[in-house]
């Protein structure tokens, strides 16, 4: 089956695909987005039922290998201490993200210059700043101006509630004289652009039934579709096809019925995340590109960066009401963000305070940590923990390393028979030292806040939320996959806009940087339309 050709074909309807569709819609080009998932129904999100905590082990599991929804593809991550977490739907992984929305720091774009490691980006913070601001307005970001950890910025909405838990931890940070600030959050603290305000449900990472969280199915997509973009769901792209000149001329995909279809396009844009994009490129082999499309540098799939996470938890004497409020958005600290050679590692990390745990999560955390035994002492131990925990995750900057990579699994395939990705990843010595440092500092601040007991897990195995670096950006075609505005060096009508193009990872959640980059690339496409392929 062959469809009418389109001007722009976007693969993937998540954070970046949505922003690109919205931005390009004003050109009146014919734009189509193919998404392997479907529209989500917020009325079915876990927070609407009493078993909301349990569904994190089933249809809302972080890992596609556990979740096994029809829309998911398997990922072999056996050779990695960190497993991949994603979601496939209109909105992509923003359906399940915590909506923590910190920007990169200016120094995050200049690692080679400032710290002598990795590489500089071919663009800088100043270039992206207007796009960060534009994206903050589109997503509806809550936060507070004046943070000394950042250049000045204004956010459209006031900060979310810190709650008893956040206030308690803030006092601990103050006691140590450490930086903290209310989190920048893509969650509406007040009604915003047709979205209802957050009502502190708690489980943001299981979808937001209130619609306050800025997943792109409720932000960019409704506007993009209204402006003429076609979004075709349950369409899984197998490969990008090329013409005799080596230009992308469309894709082959499977529709909802599993029928093989062909879609022609003048421009192809990949927005499939740091694992899905290299998978698709590596699955697109041809005589001209025997090692995968746009892979003459041999860098497609290499330099995979996660953010190694640690989780540090404290148990307090007083109830903290931690089950109230957005799970991942409370306060953050960047006291240890910038490089300090005396710490024994380069670069740094962020602390992000978590809310407490619900009844089931408390029990299961107590089970795995040994704090809540079965048997005669169960109730007493449970009572000491429930509603008395507070903690944080640590997000460590990962540095790019060639051996950390995404390849194709020789055997594993998805439900359409398309080869699945395989992730091979090793934690570096630098990351290991950073994790150790962060856990010690995390325990210190929890104790300063009043915690009587602390515990930590590092690295956190299921924390592969942030997928970056596997089709890196650069000006030299020998050492990068895309140029400074997202166009593949090897295929001049093929663009990549997801986390794959990150040169380095920063130590913050990447979504707002992915989207700012996308809006910048979209603007570059619009400015260069007359000679886009030169």
């Amino acid at each position: 089956m062959s469809e009418e050709p389109v001007d722009v074909l976007i693969v993937g309807a998540g954070a970046s695909g949505a922003a690109m569709a919205w931005s390009l819609a004003e050109t009146r080009m014919k734009i189509l987005c193919l998404e392997q998932g479907d529209w989500m129904d917020p009325a079915q999100y876990p927070s609407t039922s009493l078993d909301w905590e349990t569904r994190q082990f089933g249809d809302f599991a972080l890992s596609p290998n556990s979740r096994r929804r029809r829309e998911d593809y398997p990922i072999n991550d056996d050779d990695s201490p960190i497993s991949v977490s994603n979601f496939n739907a209109v909105g992509g992984s923003t359906i399940l993200y915590a909506a923590h929305f910190p920007r990169f720091h200016p120094a995050d774009f200049k690692l080679r210059t400032l710290d002598g490691v990795a590489d500089d980006w071919p663009i800088d913070y100043a270039r992206l700043e207007p796009y960060y601001a534009q994206n903050d307005r589109m997503m509806g970001v809550s936060g507070l101006a004046g943070d000394p950890a950042y250049p000045p910025k204004q956010l459209p909405l006031p900060p979310l509630p810190l709650g008893k838990l956040g206030h308690t931890l803030a006092r601990g940070f103050n006691k140590l004289g450490w930086h903290w600030w209310p989190s920048d959050s893509a969650i509406a603290s007040q009604p915003y652009e047709g979205r209802a305000a957050c009502i502190n449900l708690g489980p943001c990472i299981l979808g937001c039934a209130q619609g306050a969280k800025a997943s792109t199915d409720v932000t960019y997509w409704p506007v993009a579709v209204r402006n003429g973009v076609e979004l075709r769901t349950r369409c899984r792209v197998r490969e990008i096809t090329i013409d005799e000149n080596g230009m992308a001329d469309g894709v082959i995909y499977y529709d909802a019925e599993g029928m093989e279809c062909r879609q022609k396009a003048e421009i192809v844009v990949l927005a499939c995340n740091g694992v899905g994009t290299p998978r698709l490129l590596l699955n697109s082999r041809s005589k001209l590109f025997p090692d995968g499309l746009a892979n003459r540098s041999s860098l497609v799939g290499r330099n995979l960066m996660f953010h190694p996470y640690a989780m540090v938890t404290g148990i307090f004497d007083e109830p903290l009401d931690g089950y109230k409020g957005p799970t991942g958005c409370c306060i953050m600290s960047q006291e240890f963000y910038e490089t300090d050679p005396s710490r024994g590692f380069v670069r740094g990390y962020s602390f992000e305070m978590l809310r407490g745990m619900g009844p089931v999560s408390t029990a299961l955390w107590g089970m795995s940590s040994g704090r809540i035994p079965w048997g005669a002492d169960h109730h007493q131990a449970y009572g000491k923990v429930f509603n008395r925990t507070a903690g944080m995750v640590v997000i460590c900057e990962d540095l790019p390393e060639l051996h950390n990579r995404v390849t194709l699994d020789p055997e594993l395939v998805d439900s359409d028979g398309i080869p699945a990705p395989k992730v091979s990843y090793r934690l570096s010595e630098n990351s290991t030292r950073m994790l150790e440092h962060s856990v010690a500092r995390g325990k210190e601040v929890l104790e300063a806040s009043g915690a009587k007991m602390t515990s930590a897990e590092a690295p956190l195995p299921p924390a592969g939320w942030h997928l970056m670096g596997t089709a890196r950006m650069g000006t030299d075609a020998r050492s990068s996959v895309v140029n400074e505005w997202g166009r593949c060096h090897d295929v001049r009508n093929l663009f990549i806009i997801d986390g794959s193009i990150f040169v380095t990872a920063g130590a913050v959640n990447p979504t707002c940087t992915i989207q700012a980059l996308t809006l910048y690339i979209a603007d570059s496409i619009k400015k260069n339309l007359a000679n886009l392929f030169d």
Binding site: T48, E53, D108, L144, G146, Y150, N200, Y323, A363, L364
Partner: protein
């Protein structure tokens, strides 16, 4: 073919033994405000779990059988007739030979128990989903930021 014919239910004997085991995992609360996991009727929850995950059924059935055999060496009336301390000892002892049995049961018992409305209420919470009512939270005290606002810029210029 019905679901029950494909995956038969636990026998009455197995159910009684299972309820006893569940009460060992989470016993009744000493203040009498909550029954144990068996008394709460979580056998039905475990039954639902194994309907959805049939690979767990043999783990549980074989575990119960091994437990019964061990128990009869102490008391001919079987596991249910033992003292609480003996039951606890036997369960611990069983983990060496039936490795998946106790960890699986603990996990699913904790899940079933702490999402039960009676337990949630006994913890002082409303037994309801978070949506649509949500939660009220205290107003922010941003004066706590005063010392942070006094600090010089922390970021490096790129």
């Amino acid at each position: 073919m019905s679901e029950e014919m494909i995956h038969p239910r636990f026998s009455d004997h197995e159910e009684r033994a299972l309820a006893t085991v569940l009460d060992q995992i989470i016993p009744p609360r000493s203040d009498g405000r909550l029954p144990g996991a068996g008394g709460l009727g979580l056998v039905r929850h475990i039954e639902q779990v194994v309907q959805q995950a049939p690979h767990l059924r043999p783990v549980i059935v074989q575990g119960l059988s091994a437990l019964d055999k061990l128990a009869r060496s102490r008391n001919p009336a079987g596991f249910v007739a033992l003292s609480s301390q003996d039951k606890s000892e036997l369960l611990s002892q069983l983990t060496a030979s039936q490795q998946g049995f106790l960890p699986s049961l603990i996990f699913h018992t904790y899940v079933g128990y702490y999402q039960d409305a009676r337990v949630v209420e006994a913890l002082g919470l409303e037994a309801r989903p978070p949506f649509p009512k949500g939660h009220e939270m205290e107003p922010n005290d941003l004066s706590l930021l005063d010392p942070v606002r006094q600090r010089p810029k922390l970021y490096r210029q790129g």
